[in-house]
Amino acid sequence: MKNREYQQIDPQALATPPPDHTSRRLRRKWEVFPGKNRFCCEGRIIAARQSGVLPLTLALILLTSGLFFIFDCPYLVQNLTGCIPAIGGVLFVFVMVSLLQTSFTDPGILPRATPEEAADVEKQIDNPTGSSSSYRPPPRTKEVVINQQVVKLKYCFTCKIFRPPRTSHCSLCDNCVERFDHHCPWVGNCVGKRNYRFFYAFIVSLSFLTTFIFACATTHLALRSRGGNGLVIALQESPASALELVVCFFSVWSILGLSGFHTYLVAANLTTNEDIKGSWSGKSGGEDVGNPYSYNSIIKNCCSVLCGPMPPSLIDRRGFVPSDDSVQTSPVEIQLPAAKNDKNMCTQGTKGLLETASRSPLLTSSCPQAKPQAMPAVLETLPEIVPSPEPHPPKTTGGRQSTNTPHKHHSHHRSKAKQTTHHTHKTSNSSPRPYHSHSSRRKDSKNRDPKFSSLR
């Protein structure tokens, strides 16, 4: 016979939840997600809040491909071969599918720390002596040795975690993303661990598609003008081909360049973020630094990046937010306005975290007598969490990244006449670097100026 030492729950307390809870339906986690993301189809589809130029990308691809199928294909099928629309069709489908998957897949977002976790991490960090609340505390780092290489893990003030290696916080999406490559405005999403292979498939297939359309349009015009009419008349007969030529001509260089660059990254098992920062280039210090994540074999690197196991999404968008007991949540809610007054940009995240405070049903039920013990534990975490980012200057929702981490832009300059937008690799890291804008870059220039000192 078990001699129960634990307090019994009063069934009455549990059976009648307070009125405001009965009216609230059970919410899914995507509805309380703290990052800047948009969700569709009840959380099945995720995208960044700013769709960037994704509509433009889609329009360009659809327009050019449409013109190709409507105007070039009939002529070429008649005069050349019927394979042309088939090949074009396959490439087009590949491009569209991989684009949509890149845009709407979770790139590898790390969920933010629960309050207890954050408190535990805070306890382990030694508070620097003499750090008053008037200035920001120095960035917290933790060093770890990976493959005989010292890697610094930085603390993310927004997500309240020490970022795993290769993880970076995207200020546009306000999330830490694993194996962060860059935030791509053309696809309207971050490119990270989970969707890098889709992104790579997209740019490679798009290179093939653009080259293919370019070649077909050229052939079409060449065949037409060979009939003794001349190029001008051929252009007049088929103006669509001219348009395709122009679009493809200007995009093929950039896209081919990008594909080549990313092929190099894949072969070296690097991310755009690391490449820009020169983390493993070893330029500064002269030490023997190499990429600790590389398998030192091109094939193995390619296989691991592109064909490796597909990691699961960690944010569990469609899971239900546990309906916390009023017993536990009401004292927490009282504290929240105080937290909000601190102009802490993380309050939204904190509130979200507190709402999902304990997923395990075992922790949501607590007996009334135990309440005084449970409450201080929860209440204590709040003051602990709140002061740390307090010294930060209050920021509007625009320029996110909470801490000492100014936004760093990398602009990939495209030689497009029609489109003046830049392919911007938005990366953000937590080292205090000045704002730097890289105006032009070539894919084949591996000897880049060491604009950024490598991570030490």
Binding site: K2, N3, R4, E5, Y6, Q7, Q8, V93, F94, V97, S98, Q101, L110, P111, A113, E116, E117, D120, V144, V145, I146, N147, V151, L153, I161, P164, P165, R166, E178, R179, R197, F198, A201, P292, Y293, K300, C303, S304, L306, C307, G308, P309, M310, P311, P312, L314, I315, D316, R359, S360, P361, L362, L363, S365, S366, C367, A370, Q373, A374, A377
Partner: protein
């Protein structure tokens, strides 16, 4: 004799504290947890037992992330179908995650709950930590 409690009893217990076992990044970005025995558990559980649990978890995660013939086959097949296969098929990783969930529940029922502890599946914490909840044990003749 030590008080034994079932998982059910724990629902009515008070949470005394939580211990977090952090990730071990010395082998790179693979999912691996530190085997270091937390001091707070010294009075509660045998060090060997705990280390064995964590080691088994590490092995299971290593199996999920292993780069081998099977994962390459899955990857290539996915690439050929323009990755649409992920919409219909359960990946190898997900299958192993289910195995892990079952293992953790088993461990909780057999070993940890009777000692007033509870392991939380790391996937619920974004694979960052293994959260161990320590419940209050007010038994007089406690272990």
């Amino acid at each position: 004799m030590a008080e034994t409690h079932s998982l059910q009893d724990l629902r009515q217990a008070a949470v005394a504290s939580k211990v977090f076992v952090q990730r071990d990044y010395t082998s790179g970005t693979i999912c691996k947890f530190q085997i270091k025995f937390p001091a707070e558990l010294e009075s509660r559980i045998d060090k060997q037992q705990f280390e064995e649990t964590i080691q088994t978890l590490n092995n299971l995660y290593a199996e999920a992330e292993k780069l081998g013939g099977r994962s390459y086959l899955e990857g290539c097949l996915a690439c050929l179908t323009a990755y649409t296969i992920f919409l219909c098929m359960e990946t190898h990783y997900e299958k192993v995650l289910k195995k892990i969930a079952k293992y953790i529940q088993e461990q909780n029922e057999k070993i940890y709950a009777p000692l007033g502890l509870l392991l939380t599946d790391p996937i619920e914490r974004g694979l960052r930590v293994v959260e161990i909840t320590i419940f209050e044990d007010r038994s007089i003749g406690s272990r």
